[in-house]
């Protein structure tokens, strides 16, 4: 169906009947403990509420880890490493991971609704992307657990020991899977801290891990804010630190571990260029641009937040893009029709608004679909396109982490490369052209860890993901992601 078809048939924000998922599917509990040494326990850091960003109601109360709790978790992980998980044959570890993958699949609907409630993302995305990929990651790395000598890291690769893992709020369960699966397959035990605003799906995963009968202490999952994260990263009993989050915090972690023996991988921010050449099919490119920046409300480190469009087709592409964005449905994340859900937190909403407002003061022109209505409660931001953006503008340099697309133009492939690479980040990039040799040339020239050609925002457990430059170091996914948890 073409963009024109949408418009002609009158489909639009009001053209759908609501199709909401049932909230009860999430099996929300009023309160959640920390998962330490195989048991759910109370935390020394008090409690915090996890909020539904779509309506600002409290979903559940969650125990917060203190430094002492972090210490207990790390000690439990060490004991499990020394006594159980380390000595266990790889094929037995593999079977535990396969169990977890299966249990995620079996409880996928519950997890999808829970994730949508806690994060604000559309149920369609949680159901079709987050949860299946999380299961797939466990399934993929399960298969490595008994094949480590064949992975290309020497004949007897060894795990590091205890991994301290800190994850962000944009893909809470999926990021937990990205962290836990390769660490466990390699034979490490872990303490994982979820993000402050999205603790629930990680705790549901803890429940799955308990159901899988994983030995106590192999996986410990704690909730809390920056203090808990710092305590974990700085704990002397942690051998490996894996962090996904902001570049600012990533730099602080790199400073904190300096001079220690801790291994570190960092997956940080991005400011990806999505580059559209004049020979690209307009409708495919427009779908790619929309998916690139409005997927998950733009709360994506690899989001295609800078559209670089060849000057000769800029007007045509922008017109088609505005038409397509006008058909996006913003609203109740649990509605299966919803394309754009809620912004994850009030703080994030403020940052998006601040950067977008500042773009206007710097001379950018702002556009959002006139028909887009924001709900009265909750945290919402309309899909936004900024034109007249100069490469020096803050919005073209800083990560917005929201549904805000900056549009720049170029004339030659060389200029596109120069503009795309004009950033300290280097996580991802997109290229849209029908010319194969140009795709490969562009891919070679772009300083980005992932290049999507004629597609965008694709993820797979077998595919390495990670950045150049200030987007961090190390890879997650694939054989390379396994190597991040092995000493050769």
């Amino acid at each position: 169906m073409t963009v024109q078809d949408h418009t002609r048939r009158g489909y639009g924000p009001d053209g759908y009947a609501p199709a909401p998922e049932a909230r009860s599917v999430a099996r929300l509990r009023p309160s959640y403990g920390l998962f330490v040494d195989g048991r759910f326990v109370s935390g020394g850091g008090g409690q915090m509420d996890s909020i539904n960003p779509a309506d600002e109601t409290v979903l559940a109360t969650v125990e917060v880890a203190s430094a002492d709790d972090v210490d207990r978790a790390v000690r439990a992980a060490r004991r499990a490493y020394d006594e159980v998980w380390g000595p266990m044959p790889g094929r037995e570890r593999a079977k535990y991971l396969y169990r977890i993958a299966r249990l995620i699949q079996e409880r996928s609907r519950e997890l999808a609704v829970l994730e949508s409630l806690d994060n604000g993302k559309p149920i369609r995305e949680a159901r079709d992307v987050d949860i299946p990929l999380a299961a797939a990651h466990f399934f993929y790395y399960a298969g490595w657990a008994d094949k480590l000598p064949y992975a290309g890291f020497g004949s007897a690769p060894r795990p590091f020991g205890v991994a301290g893992q800190v994850i962000p709020w944009n893909f809470p369960l999926l990021m937990a899977a990205w962290k836990l699966a390769p660490a466990l397959a390699a034979g490490n035990t872990t303490v994982l801290k979820s993000a402050e605003t999205t603790p629930l799906s990680a705790l549901a995963l803890a429940d799955i891990i308990a159901q899988a009968d994983l030995p106590s202490g192999v996986v410990n999952i704690i909730s809390g804010g920056p203090a808990a994260g710092q305590a974990l990263v700085g704990h002397p009993g942690v051998d490996k630190v894996a962090f996904t989050g902001s570049t600012e915090v990533g730099k602080q972690i790199a400073r904190d571990v300096a001079g220690s023996a801790k291994k570190v991988t960092l997956e940080l921010g991005g400011k990806a260029a999505n580059i559209v050449f004049d020979d690209a099919p307009t409708e495919q490119a427009v779908e790619g641009i929309v998916n690139g920046i409005y997927f998950n409300q733009g709360h994506v480190c690899c989001a295609g937040s800078r559209l670089l469009v060849q000057e000769s087709v800029a007007e045509e592409i922008l017109e088609a893009l505005r038409r397509r964005i006008s058909t996006l449905r913003l609203g109740d994340p649990l509605d299966k029709n919803t394309d754009i859900g809620a912004i994850n937190s009030a703080a994030q909403l403020r940052r998006i608004a601040e950067l977008t407002d500042f773009a206007e003061t710097e001379g950018a022109t702002r556009w959002s679909p006139p028909s887009c209505q924001l709900p009265a409660t909750g945290y919402w931001f309309a899909p936004t396109v900024l034109t007249d953006v100069a490469p020096a503008h803050r919005v073209a340099r800083e990560e917005v982490f929201g549904p805000v697309l900056s549009v720049l133009t170029f004339r030659t492939p060389e200029e596109a490369v120069a503009k795309a690479n004009d950033t300290p980040y280097g996580l991802s990039a997109g290229v849209w052209t029908e010319k194969g040799s140009r795709i490969l040339w562009m891919s070679q020239q772009l300083r980005a860890g992932v290049v999507w050609a004629n597609t965008f925002n694709r993820f797979d457990p077998s595919s390495p993901f990670g950045g150049y430059g200030e987007s961090g170091y190390g890879r997650e996914g694939g054989r390379h992601g396994l190597g991040a948890y092995l000493a050769s």
Binding site: A254, L268, A448, G449, V450, W452, A453, G466, Y473
Partner: protein, 309 residues
């Protein structure tokens, strides 16, 4: 002023100058040891030099004492060389590295004398260091067109996409060279960095820098493009912090950083540099090299494309 001071300090000492002459009646021509930046051999812009002594404390030569400005110039040269060198074919890079070995081979005697003087080795032990240095270039030369096959991958993603990963050079890499092993240690850390297509800014051993300058002469005549390797002599604690914090340096090898390592690693965090920490035990450079140094300054790039008719 620094130069005058050096004359005052060192003037009265009769030098044990290299290379030792075999014709006693002829007055030897002494070599001036300079920096190697962007293919040229400048003195330090600061005008500073410092005396280098052999292992017995005898004066050998004055080395240029590089400044922060020299270091910045070296980074500019390395950055300028990066696009060309990183996109040179792997086969071509391998041939250039092999050429370095050829050039070194032809100057074995000179290097053996310099290494013996710098490290206090017997003539035989020094020759072994030089031989291993030559062979090390050859080992890495052969890796240039194989590393992508070993580290790259076609990834079987669950969907109709062709997905492949290739290793690419990190970019500009700063190297704090080993302080003890003046030639073999330097070659062991430098060769893997440039093999994969990185360009390098090296801070040579502070007390034993002379073999690095002679190595620069080899590099300058080995078809290595200008700026791919830049070598600075001087005081490590003065130069290294600027290298570690430089925003246009993508990675840093702290092998020779000693007690500075932790603070340099912290400084490198400011731009999320890739950091290779110093080994926990002093390495035996005569031992077989492995892939670790070659893989540390690489980025894995993954490209997706749909499959369809």
């Amino acid at each position: 002023m620094a130069v005058r001071a050096a004359v005052t300090d060192w003037g009265p000492t009769l030098p044990a100058k290299l290379p030792s002459t075999t014709e006693p009646e002829r007055l030897a021509v002494w070599k001036t040891y300079k920096l190697f930046i962007g293919g040229a051999f400048p003195r330090s812009e600061s005008g500073r030099s410092y005396p280098i002594t052999d292992h017995r404390g005898g004066f050998v030569a004055n080395a240029a004492q590089a400044s922060r400005k020299d270091l910045r110039d070296a980074v500019v040269a390395a950055r300028k060389a990066s696009p060309g060198w990183s996109h040179t074919t792997a086969y071509n890079r391998g041939q250039v590295l092999y050429r370095i070995a050829e050039m070194l081979e032809g100057r074995r005697a000179q290097f053996a004398e310099e290494v013996a003087a710098a490290e206090g080795l017997s003539a035989r032990a020094a020759r072994q260091q030089v031989s291993e240095s030559i062979d090390r270039w050859i080992w890495f030369a052969g890796w240039s067109d194989k590393i992508a096959s070993v580290l790259g991958a076609a990834n079987p993603v669950a969907g109709h996409y062709f997905n492949f990963s290739v290793p690419e050079p990190t970019g500009v890499v700063g190297i704090i060279a080993p302080q003890e092993s003046a030639l073999l240690g330097l070659v062991s850390v430098l060769a893997p960095v440039v093999t994969s297509g990185n360009t390098a800014v090296v801070i040579a051993s502070a007390q034993r820098p002379l073999p690095s300058v002679t190595l620069a002469e080899v590099l300058a005549t080995s078809d290595l493009p200008v700026g791919v390797v830049n070598i600075l002599t001087g005081h490590t604690p003065e130069l290294a912090p600027w290298l570690a914090s430089h925003a246009d340096v993508d990675g840093i090898d702290l092998t020779g950083a000693g007690e500075l390592a932790a603070s340099l690693e912290a400084a490198a965090a400011g731009t999320v540099k890739r950091v290779l920490r110093p080994p926990s035990v002093a390495p035996d450079w005569l031992g077989d090299p492995d892939l670790a140094r070659l893989t540390h300054f690489l980025e894995i790039k993954t490209t997706w494309h749909p499959i369809g008719v």
